[in-house]
């Protein structure tokens, strides 16, 4: 994000203090996904309709309560973007026919986990972008099917233990690159965020909100329950995800990818991994040097590529 960008959010003190999202949701203590939604909602505001897919956040709206001041539509695990398509098209039809006033219009926001965003919902997502659908996709990425007990998903990182990858090597696959998949569709905007970098998150939501077309925000969402750490560590783990370079903060716009936070001196990935029970088998009973080196090498490779690109 270039410095000339006009933004309301330059410092922590600029962030909204209004707290639009209601309290009392059944999310786990220390839920990094809820934290990101909380922050995003303050900026998106109440003129929104959240179109949700099956996952932890489906339990935000439990009859007769909702933490949202605006609207909510639960669809299915696979088809939230198609729900957004139906809502957006119907709003446009009514706007064109004067049945609703421009001030009654809504920002359509798809809210899903990684299982839906990286996997089951990929077909409907691709279709929505292909239609140039005017919507924001907010993915809280907790790197597994958390709601069903943290099984491996297409977003699970290499080596992580999940409830379906319990062996000594953890998950054998590699986290899918959703950012690149979206960018390949040439949408209006794609960004990665994390709640522990609230100013960066706010600026990206602000930017997405100001654009039209298909926009994706992927929020890495430390999940105490699924990643096996104490809820009080959520913020520290989130910070380490960025400091170690495991979670690059970046955005895509007009065919160009920009990194919004380049860690000046990256901390070793171990610092991030050792804080989480899901990687404990890489350290105990003995260190799995090969796997640790492999994970470090992937991160180093990634950043070497970034530096090469930026000259």
């Amino acid at each position: 994000m270039s410095d000339e960008t006009i933004t309301l959010y330059k410092h922590m003190k600029d962030l909204p203090s209004n707290r639009l999202l209601g309290t009392g949701t059944p999310m786990c203590a220390g839920c990094g996904g809820l934290l990101a939604i909380h922050q995003a909602y303050d900026i998106l505001g109440e003129k929104t309709v959240f179109v949700n897919a099956a996952g932890c956040m489906t339990l935000l709206a439990v009859y007769p309560y909702t933490p949202f001041r605006g609207s909510w539509l639960y669809t299915s695990m696979a088809s939230a973007p198609a729900g957004a398509q139906g809502v957006r098209d119907a709003l446009d039809i009514q706007l064109a026919r004067g049945r609703i006033k421009p001030e009654e219009d809504l920002q359509v926001v798809v809210l899903t986990g990684d299982g839906a965003a990286y996997g089951m919902g990929m077909s409907s997502t691709s279709s929505a972008i292909e239609h140039g659908l005017d919507f924001i996709y907010l993915c809280y990425d907790n790197e597994g099917y958390a709601n069903t007990g943290q099984q491996s998903s297409p977003a699970t990182p290499h080596g992580a233990r999940t409830s379906t990858s319990t062996g000594p090597q953890g998950f054998g696959g590699h986290k899918k690159d959703l950012f690149a998949i979206w960018a390949a569709h040439r949408p209006a905007y794609v960004a990665t965020v994390i709640a522990t970098e609230p100013v960066d998150l706010a600026r990206k939501i602000e930017k997405a909100k100001g654009l039209k077309g298909s926009r994706l925000i992927i929020a890495l969402s430390p999940c105490p329950t699924g990643w096996d750490f104490d809820p009080r560590e959520t913020v520290e783990i989130g910070r380490l995800a960025v400091k170690t370079g495991m979670w690059p903060l970046k955005e895509y716009e007009n065919g160009k990818v920009t990194h919004t936070r380049v860690p000046p001196k990256r901390a070793p990935v171990e610092e991030y991994l050792e804080k989480q029970g899901r990687f404990a088998h890489l350290f105990h009973p003995r260190r799995n040097e090969a796997m640790l080196a492999e994970i470090q090498a992937r991160v180093d490779d990634y950043w070497a590529g970034v530096e090469a690109d930026h000259g």
Binding site: S71, W72, T75
Partner: protein, 413 residues
Amino acid sequence: MTRTLITGNAAAAWGARLAGAEYVPAFPITPQTEIIETLAGWIDAGEMECRLVTLESEHSMITAAGAAASTGVRVFSATSSQGLLYGMEMVYAVPGYRAPFVLVNVSRGVQTPVTLEPDHNDVLAARDSGFLQLHCATCQEVLDSTLIAYRLAEDHRVRLPALVNLDGFYLSFTREPVEIPDRAAVEGFLPPYDPETTRFHAGEPVSQGVVVLGGAYYSYFRYEQHLAAQRALEVYDEVAAEFAQQFGRSYDAVETYRSEDAEIVFFMIGSFSTKAKDAVDRLREAGQAVGLVRPRLLRPYPAEALRRALDGKKGVAVIDQNLSMGMGGVLHGELAGALYGRAGMPSVLASFIGGLGGRDIAAEEFYEMAAVTRRACREGSTPPPRLLYTADELRQMRKLQAVAHAERMEGKQ
């Protein structure tokens, strides 16, 4: 009024056009595709003010339909067979939104094996979903049922989506003379879409499709949907009466043909019932008291009207163009449930499975079904279920099997 020769698919498209459908989420599948192509053609030519969006699957298509209806526009969509099954998660989900729209299904047998030709296993898979179901026998009925379906689905007492069914090929691709009403007359019958309280827009937040915690809350909402579907029975009668008054065509929830004084009746849905009518005429000429009873409305199930229609009959030949594996004909089981233990109901319900994958039902087979049912009445015992299949068809099948066997053996040498 002039009548135009059009296909069943064109009749469905005319229904959507005359109803003033504003939004059509679409996906192609034979034998339905002509419906969405026709609508797309009208939209592109500026003859219809509507937005058609091709989604990437029927699952998405039905999601978009439910979402758009929940946002406040009149929605039309169409599918068939594998498409309906592909969207089935959402077919069961969207009725709970209580946002009505009309979905046309052009019946086609489901795989495996693969076929393009019709039977009713596809639409019957949606039987318990909460969609209302109207089943058509003629192209005129397709157009008219689409209009009736909107009125019924959108009625304040109902608020459920409706499925209008026509048979692939036999109706979808068959031209029949159809009276196409003019738009002004239809507007008198079908007022503009009223989204009631379900409408996403700023200022009045709505939450749709939410979670409930506990079986008691779940039961409440599910039963409420059931009651709404049941109310659709009386609403249907009102709507059909109004339609008849305005357009001069009557569509009772249960069609009866020469059944008043009949001893034996055929019981079936769909386009093959027109063949049954011919058979009834021939049998009447031969002095046999035979008739036809055809439910147009399958959901809600018009149990009371069926009992009235069948009161005092000796036997019913139920012809199921579907097969519930390990059980038999779906219509047969349902009808038995509606009649069992009531005074005056026919004692013989003979079950016939026919017309699977578009297999024809010949006039002689109708005569035979009538004879079998009559004999059963005389002997006082219900015959075993029977598949309509001729010795010649079996010979043809055996020939193909012999070819397949020979080919395989050749490959092994």
